[in-house]
C-alpha cells in the first residue's frame, strides 16, 4: 500500500548545465571587470594627450611672447619691453620641465622635445645677443641681425617640430583608442556568447528539473494518499484488535464457565459416588445380617438369590469406587518429573503375578522422562498393560511389546499385544465410561480402565487410540506432552 519512494539523483545533464552556467557567469564578471579597467586606462591616455598638446601650446606661446617683447625693445629701445621678455624666458623653462615630465619614456617624443628645447635656447641666445647690442648702443647692427630672418627661421623650425610632436601624440592616442575599441568589441562579443551559454544552460536546466519537480509533486501526492491509507488501515487494525479483545474476553468467560462446569461435574461425581456408597452399604450390611440370622431357615433357591444380591452390590461398589477415583484424577498432586521407564518397571512389578500366571513376555524400548502426574501415569500403564494381559487368546501366552516415538513436544508410546483384537466399530467405544464389549462371564471388569486412560491422557494434553484387527491383536497408542502443560492448564 505504501509506495516505494526512490531518492532520485539529478541527471548528469543537469550538472553539466549548471557547470556551464557558472562558467559563463564567471566569464561575464571577468570581462566586465577587465573592460572597465581598460576603459579607465583609455580615458587617462586621452587626457594625457590633451595635456601634452596643451603644454606644447603654452610653450610656443611663451616663445612668441619672448619674441614679441624682444622685437618691441629693438624697435623702440624702450626698456619696458625687457621685463615681459625675461618673464617669458623664465616661464618657458618651467613649462618645458612640465612637458618633459608628461612625455615620459617615449624616446622619439623625448628626442623631439629636446630638439625644440635646443632650437629655443639658440633663439633665446640670438635674442639676448641683439638685446645686448641695443643696450651697448649698437642698435643699427642689432636691427640688421633682426632683419636677417634668422629668428623667424628658428621659430618655424620650432613650430614644425612641435607640430610633429603633437601629431605623434594624436597618432598614439588614435592607435590606443583603436586597440581599445577592438578590445571592447571582443568583450561585448564574449559577453553575448556567455549570455547565450547562460540562456541555453537555463533552458536545459529547466527542461531537466521540470520532470524531477513533477515527480516530486507526484511523490508527495502519492505519499499523502498512502498516509491516508495507512491511517485507514490503522483504524481497521484498531477495530480488529478491539474485536479480538472482545473475542478473548468472551473466550475467557467461556473458559471460566467451562472450568466451573468441569469443577461442578467432578464435584458431582465425587459427591454422587460418595453418597451412593451409604445406601449400598446398608443394603449389603442387612443382607449379611439376614443371612446370619435366618440362614438356617433358607432353602437353596433363597441362598442363590442372596448370592446374586451380593455379587451385584460388590459390582456396584467397584463401579462407585471407579467413578470416585475417576473424578479424583489429577487432583492428588502437582505434576513432577516422571521417568517413564521407571514407571513402567513399577507397573510390571505390580502386575508380576498376572504376568507369571499367564506366562507373558513383555519387552520395552527405553522411555523418556517427562513432566506429569506420577500416580496417574502409573495407573495409565497399569490399565493398558492389564488390558493386554487380560484379553489374551485362550491358547497362547501373551506377547507384549512397548515402543516409543518422540517429537519435540510429545512422546508417543505404543503397546502392542497378540490378544483377541477389537472390532473396528468398537475401537472408539472402548474409551467410554462403563462400556464393556465382552460378556462378563468370559472377561471380568467394570468397563472403567480405558476411560481412565482417556482421562489421564487428556490430563497430559495427549491422545489415545487403538489399531486392531479381530483375532490378530491390538496396538494401543497414546501421546503425552513432555512439559509445561501445567502452565497451559493455569492459562486455560
Amino acid at each position: 500500500m505504501i509506495p516505494k519512494i526512490k531518492s532520485e539523483a539529478l541527471p548528469d545533464d543537469t550538472l553539466k548545465y549548471l557547470f556551464y552556467l557558472i562558467v559563463a557567469l564567471v566569464a561575464i564578471l571577468t570581462l566586465v571587470a577587465f573592460s572597465s579597467a581598460r576603459t579607465s586606462a583609455t580615458m587617462n591616455e586621452v587626457v594625457h594627450t590633451w595635456q601634452v598638446k596643451n603644454e606644447l601650446e603654452k610653450l610656443l606661446l611663451e616663445i612668441r611672447k619672448a619674441e614679441t617683447s624682444q622685437r618691441g625693445y629693438l624697435l623702440s629701445t624702450d626698456s619696458n619691453y625687457l621685463d615681459p621678455y625675461y618673464a617669458a624666458v623664465a616661464s618657458y623653462a618651467s613649462v618645458y620641465a612640465g612637458l618633459e615630465e608628461l612625455i615620459g619614456d617615449a624616446p622619439e617624443q623625448r628626442r623631439r622635445a629636446a630638439e625644440i628645447d635646443k632650437l629655443t635656447r639658440q633663439k633665446f641666445q640670438e635674442m639676448d645677443h641683439t638685446i645686448n647690442m641695443v643696450q651697448e648702443g649698437r642698435t643699427e647692427e642689432a636691427l640688421q641681425i633682426f632683419n636677417t630672418d634668422l629668428g623667424q627661421k628658428y621659430m618655424v623650425n620650432i613650430e614644425t617640430i612641435a607640430g610633429f610632436l603633437a601629431a605623434e601624440e594624436d597618432n598614439l592616442l588614435a592607435k590606443r583608442t583603436r586597440s581599445s575599441s577592438t578590445w571592447r568589441k571582443v568583450v561585448i562579443g564574449l559577453i553575448a556568447l556567455s549570455m547565450v551559454v547562460i540562456l541555453i544552460s537555463l533552458f536545459g536546466l529547466i527542461g531537466k528539473v521540470r520532470p524531477v519537480f513533477a515527480k516530486l509533486v507526484a511523490t508527495q501526492v502519492s505519499l499523502q494518499e498512502s498516509n491516508r491509507e495507512l491511517a485507514q488501515s490503522l483504524e481497521e487494525l484498531a477495530k480488529i484488535n478491539q474485536q479480538k479483545d472482545e473475542t478473548v474476553r468472551q473466550n475467557r468467560g467461556l473458559i471460566e464457565r467451562l472450568k466451573a462446569k468441569k469443577e461442578r461435574l467432578n464435584n458431582f461425581a465425587f459427591v454422587a459416588s460418595h453418597d451412593l456408597r451409604e445406601p449400598l452399604r446398608t443394603v449389603s450390611n442387612y443382607v449379611r445380617l439376614f443371612e446370619e440370622d435366618y440362614g438356617d431357615r433358607l432353602d437353596e433357591d433363597a441362598k442363590q438369590y442372596f448370592a446374586f444380591i451380593h455379587k451385584s452390590t460388590n459390582h456396584m461398589r467397584n463401579l462407585i469406587a471407579g467413578l470416585l477415583a475417576y473424578s479424583r484424577l489429577g487432583t492428588s498432586a502437582a505434576p513432577e518429573e516422571v521417568d517413564l521407564s521407571a514407571a513402567l518397571q513399577d507397573t510390571l512389578h505390580v502386575l508380576d503375578s498376572a504376568i507369571e500366571e499367564k506366562g507373558a513376555t513383555v519387552s520395552s524400548a527405553p522411555l523418556p522422562t517427562i513432566q506429569g502426574y506420577r500416580m496417574e501415569l502409573l495407573l495409565l500403564f497399569q490399565n493398558v498393560l492389564a488390558n493386554a494381559l487380560k484379553f489374551s487368546p485362550a491358547n497362547q501366552p501373551p506377547v507384549i511389546d512397548i515402543s516409543c516415538h518422540e517429537t519435540e513436544d510429545f512422546v508417543q508410546i505404543s503397546v502392542k499385544d497378540n490378544g483377541i483384537g477389537i472390532h473396528p466399530r468398537n475401537q472408539k467405544k472402548i474409551f467410554e465410561m462403563f462400556n464393556r464389549l465382552n460378556a462378563a462371564k468370559s472377561y471380568e471388569g467394570q468397563g472403567i480402565g480405558l476411560a481412565f486412560c482417556q482421562q489421564i491422557v487428556n490430563l497430559h494434553h495427549g491422545n489415545i487410540w487403538v489399531d486392531s484387527e479381530l483375532g490378530k491383536g491390538s496396538t494401543f497408542h497414546f501421546t503425552l506432552k513432555k512439559q509445561d502443560y501445567d502452565r497451559d492448564e493455569a492459562e486455560a
Binding site: H274, R277, E278, R281, T282, Y286, L289
Partner: protein
C-alpha cells in the same frame, strides 16, 4: 466374639444413620467388648451427653468413641473442635476413632494431623477393626489368646 479379661466401661457411637448405628451396635455387642453401648445421632447430642452428670454420679467418660464424619448440622470435624474445649473430667480416658463412608485421602490426611484422633476406618465397622483397636489401645483388657502372635514374643 473377642476373648476379654475385662470389658470396656462404655462405648459411644455418634452417627446420624439409624441403620448404621443399629448394625455397628450389633457388631460391638456380638464381639462382647462392652456391656454398655450409648448411641447418639449428632455431634451436639454427643457433647451434651458428655457434660451431663449421670444419675448414679460422675460423667459418662466413655472408654471408646466412634465418630461419623458426614452428619447434618455439626459434622465430625466440628465436633472434634468443640470436644477439644471440654474439661478433662468430661473427656476422661477416651479413644476417638473416626468412621467414614469412604477412604477419601483429604479426610485421612486431616485425621492424621488431629492429635486426639486415634484411628480412621471406613464403614462398616467390622469385628477385625475392633480387635485391632483393642490390641493397639487396650491390650490389658484382652485375653492372651486375643493378642497378636508377634506381640507375645
Amino acid at each position: 466374639m473377642i476373648a476379654m479379661k475385662r470389658k470396656l466401661k462404655r462405648v459411644l457411637l455418634i452417627d446420624d444413620s439409624e441403620s448404621d448405628n443399629f448394625f455397628h451396635s450389633r457388631i460391638i455387642r456380638k464381639a462382647g467388648i462392652t456391656d454398655e453401648i450409648k448411641v447418639v445421632y449428632s455431634g451436639e447430642e454427643a457433647l451434651e451427653y458428655l457434660v451431663t452428670e449421670m444419675v448414679q454420679g460422675g460423667f459418662p467418660s466413655p472408654t471408646l468413641i466412634f465418630l461419623d464424619i458426614n452428619m447434618p448440622g455439626m459434622n465430625g470435624w466440628e465436633f472434634l473442635d468443640e470436644y477439644d474445649k471440654l474439661a478433662v473430667m468430661h473427656k476422661g480416658e477416651i479413644i476417638l476413632t473416626m468412621l467414614s463412608n469412604s477412604i477419601d485421602s483429604p479426610d485421612l490426611e486431616q485425621a492424621k494431623v488431629r492429635g486426639n484422633v486415634a484411628g480412621y476406618y471406613s464403614k462398616p465397622l467390622e469385628e477385625e477393626y475392633l480387635l485391632e483397636i483393642l490390641q493397639r489401645h487396650f491390650p490389658d483388657y484382652l485375653e492372651d489368646s486375643s493378642l497378636p502372635a508377634s506381640e507375645e514374643e
